[in-house]
């Protein structure tokens, strides 16, 4: 099963290497990892999507906890959460197909961000199901280049992940 982990880490140099190294040497499979700083400049947040059964997940979480730079880990999979990923896709596009591709983009609420002589670049956000579907819809036109950010996620409602744990708002 796929799990989504929200991991708060010290914003120290090398922390990404520590986390990534841990996953590879312990044989854990990362589906995606997205990292950036949070509302606090000294704290970064990683959203890690990892494949594994409950036992694997327990080990992932415990081993992550052993890293001194890791402050908090929440497996938000069982919670209600919003998740998003952003993709940029550059599609082969002759002038005659522009309208058609723009219609596809419209269906997925994607935005055209660049036009070239024979290309069109679109931006789309959503969960990975939507992104995958969008990619498939564009594939027949010829995808020249594609880049995805990896998933970021946040719990819905008043619950939140903070340095002091997963809590309800006071």
């Amino acid at each position: 099963m796929r799990h989504t982990l929200a991991v708060l880490v010290e914003n120290n140099p090398g922390v990404l290497a520590r986390v990534a190294g841990l996953f590879s040497r312990r044989g854990f499979n990362i589906d995606s990892l997205a990292v950036g700083r949070t509302e606090r400049p000294d704290v970064s947040r990683m959203t890690i999507v990892v494949e594994g059964d409950d036992r694997v997940l327990e080990q992932v979480s415990k081993q992550l906890h052993k890293l001194v730079d890791v402050i908090k880990i929440s497996d938000i999979t069982p919670e209600e959460y919003v998740d998003r990923e952003l993709v940029l896709i550059k599609v082969h596009c002759e002038a005659v197909h522009r309208g058609e591709i723009m219609q596809v983009a419209d269906v997925f609420r994607a935005r055209i961000v660049d036009l070239g002589r024979k290309t069109i670049t679109v931006e789309c956000t959503g969960n990975d199901g939507k992104i995958n579907a969008f990619e498939e819809a564009l594939r027949p036109y010829g995808i020249k280049e594609l880049v995805r950010t990896g998933k970021i996620a946040m719990m819905r409602g008043t619950r939140f992940t903070s340095v002091s744990g997963v809590r309800d708002e006071d």
Partner: protein
Amino acid sequence: MEMTVAQALIRCLELEEVDIIFGYPGGAILPVYDALCKAASIKHVLVRHEQGAVHAADAYSRATGKVGVIMATSGPGATNLVTGIANAYMDSVPLVLITGQVPTSQVGTDAFQEVDITGITMPITKHNYLVKDAKKLPSIIKSAFHIASTGRPGPVLIDLPKDVASETIKFTYPEKVSLRGYKPTYTGHPAKVKEAAKLMMNSQRPVIYAGGGVLNSGAAGELLQLAETLTAPVTNTFMGLSGFPGEHPLFLGMLGLHGTRYANLAVTNCDLLIALGARFDDRVTGRLAAFAPNAGVVHVDIDPAEIGKNVQVHVPIVGDVKQVLQAILAHLKKKDRTGWLEQIQQWKKEYPLTYGSGGEKMKPQAVIEAIYRHTRGEAVVTTDVGQHQMWVAQYYRFKYPGTLISSGGLGTMGFGLPAAVGAQIGLPDRLVMLITGDGSVQMNIQELATLVEQKLPIKIFIMNNNCLGLVRQLQEFYCERRYIATEFGFVPDFARLAGAYGIAGYDIETLEQLDKMLPEIISNPGAAIVNCRVDASENVSPMVMAGQGIDEAIDC
């Protein structure tokens, strides 16, 4: 007070009450050594190879309970530490290592003697630091000692670029450490403690399986009390040896791959396995499905990641073994037990540790027994890795906690000699012995010079069989006796080598000779090398073959 970072570093070490540093100088760490000149309270032990420095500090730490401190320079100085660091990491030994680094402006340029030692040691340190901001040095040192010595202990490395070491800072040493991502748990969860106590009281056939965590937490007294209260037999992992008195009637010896048959049978047939500060290592469990198949498992460990890693646990307790045992003992009443103990007694009678008596050559097992006869467990024993190490585990009865210092998890040949150096420096008044092999001792034999320079009266017993016995044994059983690269075409004359270092050398061919010479060897005030020519055909027995359960050991 204003001072250079190098001076501040030495000041920090003084405030951490470091009295000894094992190290080897070089260009990048020059400013730190220069500052060390003025530190009257810190002694520096100059080793002959950086690996020796780590092993010596490792053993010093195990012998004294203090944090071992190591210094080395950048590049090769740092990479030579790597095996020692991995060794300490696997055996949970608190170390603080300080390496010099090329100046910040050259970091990342493949400069002379530059190596990314924080990157290299990431998987084998508990934590490491590259000091970029001079002001942070004091708090980094404070944190390093805290991280190394608390929770599950381990090595922490600090890489200090040469230019940073020469910067001037205003020195204040923080009183407290604040690490929001690091808060080890010491006290067991009360509900789990109760549950464990209940299982222990209700168990008919309990076995206590005690590891190195018992020694790390100083819980040997509590372990003894637990065993005697429950009248439960105790088996030790290799790392746990010396944590329970070797002559105690409840002692089963070591379990696992080369464990006693009765320990392995007891574990296989128990209804409750009480795992204390042990990690269900593959050398202990053999085939996992056959390990304690009908037992409930109580697992006490300070490292939550060890609980449930290899086996399913019924009562997990995260905490310090000593504190958790104290809490459990409060819930226990003295329990007598006859049937289970009789069964174990029968196994002990039926399957004792044995070795052949034939042949002209001295049996290595008999050498260990002789050393035990003459020391009665009063010595601190360091070993290397190989057959001799397993024979020590089987035939030497440890009396006091911490009197075995050996490389368990990593199995580092070459650990023994520098470890003996570190142990003797930490325990100047104790009899320190190294039991090693002709293969292992040659792996760090340069440390003989350190031993002599430091005037250490270490007694070195070399189980000399002219080969790499344990690997040879593997070739006998797994490669149909196709021996390759395990027999030495040349082995130095160790007794004469002793002469070259100005210490006593002995050549021993027979057990009678050994018995006669041992009192002299032990009582002499100086160091000695005792070259014991032993029967090369002896194997470590019993042995559990790969993929087998621990109750399926073969005699070999």
